[in-house]
Amino acid sequence: MDQSKFENLAKEFMEDLKKVSSLDDLESLRVKYLGKKGILAGLFGEFAQISPEIKKDFGRKLNQLKNNIESKLSELHSEFFAGTEIGVSQFEKTLPGKKPQIGHLHPIITQAIREIVEIFKPLGFTQVRHPEVDWDYFAFESLNMPKTHPARDEWETFFVKAPENKEYGKLVVSPHTSSGQVREMLKNQLPIRMLNISRCGRRQIDVNHIPFFFQFEGLAIDKNLSIANLRGVLDYFAQKFFGPGRKTRLRPFHFRFTEPSFEVDVSCGLCQGAGCRFCKEGWVEIGGAGMVHPNVLKAGKVDPKIYNGFAFGWGVERTYMMKAGLKIDDMRYLGENNLKFLSQF
C-alpha cells in the first residue's frame, strides 16, 4: 500500500467529519472508522500479511492515522458537550464555581499543635496528654517545690473546691504541662521521649494573657543525656518550626524542677539576629528548659544515678503567633470564638 492511500483516507475522513451534525452522526462515524469491523480494523488485518521491509513504515503511518482520527473525534465530541447539549454558555464559563461550604479549624491552636507534633515525631517524641485538673503534688510538690515554697507564687494557680487528698494535697487547675513529668515517669517505661500538649490554666487575663491556654512540653529521660542533646533538639525544632537558619540559645535561669535551668531564645526572624525593635539584641525569648532535677527523677521512681534527662516547654499560642509573624493585638481574641476572627485564617 502506498503513501497516497493513507493521505486519501485521511482526506475522506475529514470530509465525513464535516457532515456530522449530531451525536448520533458522530457515533456512526466512529463505528465506520474505528469500529470492530471498521476501515482501520481492516487495515490492521492487512498489516499481518505485508512484506517485512515495508512493515515498519506501514505500521507507523497506520498508527498516525488512527491517533489523528481518534483525537478529531474526541475534539468534536467535547464540542457537542461544551455547546447547548448540557447548557454551559460562554458566560457561565467565566463564573466562579460553586464551592462547598468549608469551615475552619482553629487557626492557631490546632494548626500549631499539628505542626509541633509532626516536627517531634521523627525524633521519637510521642504525643501524650495528662490531666488538666490535677493534684498539687504533680503540679508542684513532686517538682521539687515543697508545700510552702515561694516559687509556687510564680504560677497564678486556680484552686478547685474539693476535699484535700492526704497524700497528694489540693486539687488545682494544672498551671503548666510540667505536671505531666512525674506522671509520665511513673508509667515506668524507660527511656522516655514525651511530648505533652495540654490545656493549662492561670489566674491571668489581660492583653497578653488568657486564663486557659495550651503549653507543650518535651521530656527525655535516658542514660547519659547532656545539655548538648537539649541544644540539638531545640535547634532542630527551631529550624523546622521557624525556618532554616534560625538558631536557639540557652541563657542561665532558675526553675526548681531543673538543674541547670535555662531560658530559651530563638534568633529573631525579622532582623536575622542583628537586633531590631521586636527583639532583644537579635533574640526572642520563647520558653524554659533544663536538665531534670534529681529530686524530680526520684519522685518519678527513676534512679538519678543511672538516668538523667531534659525538659523544655512553652506556650503554643504565643510560639505560633511568633512564627507566623501575626500581630494579634489582644490574646483574648483566641478564646472569644468570634467567627469573623476565626474565618480570617
Binding site: G103, G201, F212, D222, N224, I227, A228, G232, F253, L339
Partner: protein, 622 residues
C-alpha cells in the same frame, strides 16, 4: 526581680577595659539577662532580671562579684573592700528582748549621736534616682543606698523616740495597729514580726516598713542604725498579706548574707560620720541567734562532663568555682556565705561550672540511644480525622475556656479563687459555651455550625475529676436530618464505626439551635481503619426508589426491619427523603447466583408491600 545597675556605680567595684555593651552580653549569656539598657543623665543603666535563687546578686556589689567570674583576670579588677569595725563605747544603751529566736537569726544595731539631718550630697541623690528611689534625707538615703549597694536592707530609728531605750521583738497579735512611715494605719493579723518599745508602742513592722512614731525627722539628733536577718517565711507572709511588696521585704524573704550584716552596718556608720557628722555613742549590739551552718558540696567532675556533653578540664572547673567564691577542698567545694540558700547538690555546682564555661560553647547534638516503646495514643489520630471531617462540612472549630459560669450543668466543680463570675466553675459539658458562641455570632450568617473537641471535668470521690474527651456540636439554621447525617457520616463512614454503635442525641434548643455532645473516648476506641473485602458480584443489581405513606406511631427502624426481612436479595435499603408523611427509600436488589430480572424484583416488591401493610399499615404512595 529586676534591678537597675548604673555603670558609674558599678565602677566603684570593678576596673575593666571591656565595654559596657560587651559586658552586658556576657552578663546575659552567663549570669543574668540584661533586658534593657537605658541612658540616664549620660550614664548607662542596665535593667537586669535576677533569678529568684540569686538574692546575693540583688546589689551593685553582688553584680560586680559575679562579673569577676566572667572576665579574664588581666582585664578585670574587683575592688570591694569591707568596711572595718570601729571602736565603740558610749552612754546610749539599748535593751533588747527577743521573744522567739527564730524570728531574727541576727540582730545588730548601733547608736550615733550629734547627727545632722540634711539633704544628701548630689552624687548620692543622683545614684538613688538612677535605681528608681526618691532621695529623702542623708540618714534615710544612706540606708536605702546601702541596700542597693550591698544588698543589705537596713533601717534607721530616731533613738530618742524609742521609749525607755527598750525594744521587744515579737510576733504581732491579731488586731494590733500600727501607723507606718507612709502614713497608713495598718491592722495586723497574728504572726508578723514587730518591735514594741518600753511603753508598749509598736515602732517597727519588721522587714516591711518602719513606724511613723519612731521615724527620722529634721530634728533627729540620735540615730539607731539597725541591720537584721529575719525569718524569710515570716516576712514573705507579712508582705503578701498586707499586699505591700517593698524592695527591702523582697530581699529579706529571699535570704540575706549572714556575713554581710556587720560590714554593711560599719559602712553605714562610716557614711553617717562622713555625710551627717554622727559620732558613735553606744556599744555595738550584735546578737547571733541562729548561725547558718557552713556547707560543703561534692564536686562531681564526671557529672559535669556528662551534663555538658563536652569535656571541661578539672582545673578549669576548679578555677570557675573559685572565681565564684567557692573554696576547693579536695573533691568538695565550700559554699560562700552569700550562696548558702542556693547551692546544695553536685548538680548545683555543675550548673555553676557549665554556665560560666558558656552554654554557647557546648555542641548541639541530636539524641542517640534506644527509641522509646511508647506508642502514640489512637485518640490523637481520630481527633485529627474528626476535625478535618467537620471542617470540610462547614464547621468552625472553637476553643472555649475550661471554666464557665456556675449555672452550666449539674455537679460542676467550683474554683476557689475564680477570676470572674464567667469563669468560676469547671465545665461538665461543652454545649453551654458553644451555644453562647452561636449567640455571639448571630449576625455572621443564616447557617452556622460550630464544634469543640475538649475535655470536661466530672467530679469523682477522693480522686481527680474524670476528664473524658468530648465532641460538642452546635448549629443554627441547619435541619435536624442534615445534622444527623453529618454526624452519622463522620462516625459510620469516615471513622468506619459499626452502624449505630455510638449513641448520640440531638437536642433542640432556643432559636432553632441544635446541639449534640458525643463521647469521644468511646468514638476513638471504636473507630478503625479495618478493611473488609466483599467480592464484587459479576451480576448487576437493580435499583429503584419507593415512596411510602407512613401512618403515625410508626418508626423508621420498624420499616427498615420489615423490608429487609422480606428477601435476602434486598442488598441495601437507604433513606432518601421525607416530605410530610411521604417517605422515599432507595432500594437495591442483587442476586449473587444469577442475574436478577425485573420479574424477580416485582415479586419481591409485592412481598414488601404486603408485609408493610400487614405489620405496620404502611402503604405505597399512589
Amino acid at each position: 526581680m529586676n534591678i537597675f545597675i548604673p555603670q558609674s556605680w558599678l565602677k566603684d567595684y570593678i576596673e575593666t577595659d571591656v565595654s559596657p555593651v560587651e559586658l552586658a552580653k556576657k552578663m546575659s549569656a552567663h549570669a543574668f539577662n540584661v533586658e534593657r539598657t537605658n541612658e540616664i543623665k549620660g550614664d548607662i543603666v542596665w535593667e537586669a532580671e535576677i533569678t529568684t535563687n540569686r538574692s546575693d546578686a540583688l546589689s551593685i556589689m553582688g553584680i560586680a562579684r559575679e562579673l569577676k567570674s566572667l572576665l579574664p583576670k588581666k582585664d578585670y579588677k574587683f575592688k570591694y573592700k569591707e568596711s572595718k569595725a570601729q571602736k565603740t563605747s558610749g552612754k546610749d544603751k539599748l535593751e533588747v528582748e527577743i521573744r522567739d529566736k527564730n524570728l531574727v537569726p541576727r540582730f545588730s544595731a548601733i547608736v550615733l549621736d550629734e547627727v545632722q539631718i540634711k539633704e544628701s550630697p548630689e552624687w548620692m541623690r543622683d545614684r538613688l534616682e538612677k535605681v528608681g528611689t526618691r532621695p529623702l534625707n542623708n540618714v534615710i538615703d544612706i540606708t536605702n543606698y546601702l541596700m542597693f549597694d550591698l544588698g543589705q536592707p537596713m533601717h534607721a530609728f530616731d533613738y530618742d523616740k524609742i521609749k525607755s531605750g527598750k525594744m521587744i521583738l515579737r510576733d504581732s497579735r491579731a488586731g494590733e495597729k500600727v501607723i507606718t512611715l507612709d502614713g497608713m494605719e495598718r491592722e495586723l493579723p497574728q504572726g508578723m514580726i514587730v518591735i514594741e518599745d518600753g511603753e508598749g508602742r509598736l515602732i517597727d513592722l519588721c522587714g516591711i516598713m518602719g513606724a511613723k512614731n519612731s521615724e527620722i525627722d529634721e530634728n533627729t539628733k540620735k540615730v539607731l542604725l539597725f541591720v537584721q536577718v529575719y525569718d524569710p517565711m515570716k516576712i514573705r507572709r507579712a508582705s503578701m498579706t498586707l499586699g505591700h511588696r517593698t524592695e527591702a521585704a523582697t530581699r529579706f524573704e529571699k535570704g540575706i548574707d549572714f556575713e554581710g550584716v556587720l560590714p554593711a552596718l560599719w559602712k553605714a556608720v562610716e557614711m553617717s560620720q562622713e555625710l551627717a557628722g554622727g559620732k558613735i555613742s553606744s556599744d555595738l549590739i550584735d546578737i547571733v541567734n541562729i548561725k547558718p551552718r557552713s556547707k560543703e558540696v561534692e564536686i562531681d567532675y564526671e557529672k559535669i562532663n556528662l551534663l555538658a556533653g563536652v569535656e571541661i578540664e578539672k582545673s578549669r572547673a576548679d578555677e570557675i568555682l573559685e572565681s565564684l567564691g567557692f573554696e576547693i577542698k579536695g573533691k568538695k567545694a565550700k559554699v560562700p556565705s552569700w550562696r548558702l540558700n542556693d547551692i546544695d547538690i553536685p548538680e548545683d555546682l555543675a550548673e555553676e561550672v557549665i554556665r560560666i564555661y558558656g552554654y554557647h560553647n557546648l555542641p548541639s547534638k541530636l539524641l542517640a540511644g534506644e527509641i522509646p516503646r511508647l506508642q502514640p495514643e489512637k485518640i490523637f489520630y481520630w481527633e485529627g480525622i474528626a476535625k478535618n471531617f467537620l471542617k470540610h462540612n462547614g464547621f468552625f472549630e472553637c476553643y472555649n475556656y475550661s471554666a464557665s459560669s456556675c449555672n452550666a450543668g449539674e455537679n460542676q466543680l467550683e474554683l476557689l479563687n475564680p477570676l470572674t463570675e464567667k469563669i468560676a466553675c469547671l465545665r461538665v459539658s461543652l454545649i453551654p459555651q458553644l451555644t453562647e458562641v452561636l449567640d455571639k455570632n448571630k449576625g455572621y450568617a443564616e447557617k452556622i455550625k460550630v464544634f469543640e473537641l475538649a475535655a470536661v471535668y466530672l467530679p469523682r470521690q477522693n480522686d481527680i475529676p474524670d476528664q473524658p474527651s468530648r465532641l460538642g456540636i452546635a448549629v443554627k439554621g441547619v435541619e435536624y436530618l442534615e445534622l444527623k447525617g453529618i454526624i452519622e457520616a463522620m462516625l459510620y463512614n469516615e471513622m468506619n464505626i459499626a452502624q449505630g454503635a455510638v449513641d448520640f442525641e440531638i437536642s433542640k434548643g432556643e432559636n432553632g439551635y441544635l446541639t449534640a455532645e458525643l463521647d469521644f473516648e468511646k468514638i476513638s476506641q471504636l473507630a478503625n481503619n479495618d478493611k473488609i473485602y466483599i467480592p464484587i458480584s459479576q451480576f448487576n443489581s437493580i435499583k429503584e426508589d419507593l415512596t411510602l405513606v407512613v401512618p403515625e406511631n410508626v418508626e423508621y427502624p420498624q420499616i427498615k426491619k420489615a423490608i429487609l426481612a422480606v428477601d435476602p436479595r434486598i442488598k441495601s435499603l437507604d433513606f432518601k427523603d421525607i416530605y410530610k408523611n411521604a417517605l422515599t427509600l432507595s432500594i437495591e436488589y442483587l442476586d449473587r447466583q444469577k442475574q436478577i430480572s425485573s420479574d424477580d424484583t416485582q415479586k419481591i416488591r409485592q412481598n414488601i408491600f404486603a408485609n408493610l401493610e400487614k405489620d405496620l399499615g404502611v402503604r405505597l404512595k399512589k
